[in-house]
Symmetry: C2
Subunit: 360 residues, 2 copies
């Protein structure tokens, strides 16, 4: 399937909802498994959705990968983050040296971690890095513009960030990856995510904005003000996902939206992580509502607006453990649960196979 | 540590709360890890508690095991279950043939599954079974008496069931098992569990009783009536865990309580599963409140009273996925999360090791 050169309009046109027929067949198999009816709850919903996505009764997620999208944000000038901007580039190096949270948790589920410079301010020299074969330099620009003073990027840059994510994810799917987790790194990126969340879910700024990596009360107020100004100045059109992305940013959020479109286009499940990944999902959903059929929400973040985003997408998070790190960590941990769901569906005996008496 | 011959009073006397000093030390290490303060939420609480239990900053749960306790229940004569009693024995065979839910999910985390006949009505001939080296026949009696007509067992039998669980778990710990999950099998066992839960948490019967494996409205009413009569006739003393266990049963619940006492005695973490395992935890807690320091609640069951039991024990469940199978399945799935917590604590780089700039 040569999908890496396709344009956005064509992508959206080709995405179709998951075929309910396979989900129904999968439910019939679940009913035969050796337990009271649907006694493993959400695990059945997960495995049956996978059957629907993969159009099979033998779902497999053996080949797993994470795509960690990194970008910088002009809005950090407004004092919206507790960490300095150089951390974005420093963390990329750590991802490639296998030392960050996502490396640890992706390692637990045997998933590869790919890292993309979607638009980091600093230049990272891959020659010196261990994991350079897992690193893609796709800078759309050196950081977005300050969303509270004008558009974070041009409409062309927004389209490019989405298509870049799409092409990279499509490349992995074409090489056999069966399930993809999205991750993010970008100092300041809870601010554009909250801005996108406010506009696309129609929530109040106060409900959507949290402390991110840990700003104090004054920092929280500055975040709210930056978003308020950004929405006022830019007047993003909530009916137009590309407009919202271009006005509010960022490049990694566009990249994540592209990964999500690629999953739906290729009929592969995508596991979104927390607040930033879900902002990417909101953009993808605004462009093409059917993408949610192919999504699993790994967890519910401690960031207060995340619950509102998930509700808007009608996605129920798998885990709820007060996490708020990003990088894809919540999705990685949730892949253990998805893996368990698949194993139950495929490996558990049926009443008949086990020779056990059924319900009276 | 020769603990297999010890008596109950001596066991309880020797159990001490977890040493807060190690938890404090562990929190100091967490603060240095490469992320915003405590950004992985509950994962930190889990790893730090493990450090406290194991008295180390290098916690390990590499060697994992499950103990599935099976027993039958005289109260099934009241029509409280949707499945016939012979299923208890049939399921033991399936556990030993590796075909049940617990086998699948324990397999995912590389945990061994041991099965104990604590008091099943049918006799299982181990000679014909694959997993006979993982099967212990420790019948206290061939099923309990009907709790709604009198005591489910004698006080001696209650003590014996607890000590049996203690000795078997102690045996595993002495052979190097680092974390133990409890599981259950016993047609009808949500009824004694709900009875124990009602008495030990002081809840209303209506709040505590659910549909178990799937009884209809009439079956639900019969369960409530059986428990109401059982409490009225037996007058269990909620200050005396052994009295509650003996009046309301069952043998597998006593066995689970014994496993929990063994964990606390040996300073090993025990992961409890759902409604029945938590009834066992309530009995252990009534005998020795300090046991909760050594417990992880794997999940919150769909069985409505489970939340009340966990609240009484001040345990927060790791997962909440609408599961209600028992066998230890919720604990097995939760072990993935506990494993992730350990890996984050031990394998993630610190800010210093990674050379990443800290908070401004």
């Amino acid at each position: 399937m040569v999908s890496e050169d396709i344009g956005l309009v064509e992508i959206v046109k080709q995405i179709i909802p998951v075929d309910e027929k396979w989900i129904k067949k999968a439910r019939e198999r679940t009913a035969q498994l050796l337990m009271p009816a649907r006694a493993l709850g959400r695990l059945h919903d997960i495995s049956e959705r996978l059957c629907g996505i993969q159009e099979t009764l033998k779902p497999s997620i053996e080949r797993k990968a994470f795509m960690v999208m990194a970008g910088d944000h002009g809005v950090v000038k407004e004092g919206v983050s507790a960490f300095p901007q150089e951390v974005t580039g420093e963390m990329i190096k750590t991802f490639l040296n296998n030392g960050a949270g996502i490396n640890v948790l992706a390692g637990q589920v045997n998933a590869d971690v790919f890292v993309v410079d979607m638009g980091v301010v600093s230049d990272i020299d891959p020659a010196t890095l261990n994991g350079r074969d897992r690193f893609f330099i796709k800078k759309v620009a050196k950081g977005t513009a300050n969303l509270s003073r004008g558009p974070a990027m041009t409409r062309e840059e927004a389209g490019k960030s989405i298509l870049t994510g799409f092409q990279l994810a499509a490349g992995l799917f074409n090489k056999g990856v069966q399930i993809l987790g999205t991750g993010d790194m970008g100092i300041g990126n809870t601010t554009p995510s909250a801005a996108i969340g406010t506009v696309l879910t129609g929530s109040l700024i106060e409900e959507m904005v949290g402390r991110g990596t840990g700003v104090d009360d004054k920092g929280l107020f500055r975040k709210q003000e930056a978003i308020r100004k950004g929405i006022e100045i830019n007047q993003p059109n909530r009916k137009d996902g590309l407009d919202v992305l271009s006005k509010l940013g960022g490049f990694e959020i566009g990249g994540i939206a592209g990964c999500i479109l690629a999953g739906a286009y290729h009929k592969r499940p995508v596991v979104i992580d927390g607040f930033i990944s879900t902002a990417g999902a909101l953009v993808a959903h605004a462009l093409c509502p059917a993408v949610v059929d192919y999504l699993f929400a790994g967890h519910c973040s401690e960031e207060p607006g995340h619950r509102l985003m998930l509700k808007h997408l009608k996605l129920e998070p798998i885990l709820d453990l007060g996490m708020r790190l990003g990088e894809g960590t919540g999705g990685a941990l949730a892949m253990c649960i998805i893996e368990g769901a698949v194993r139950i569906f495929t490996d558990m005996l049926t009443f008949e196979e086990a020779g056990v008496t059924g319900k009276e």
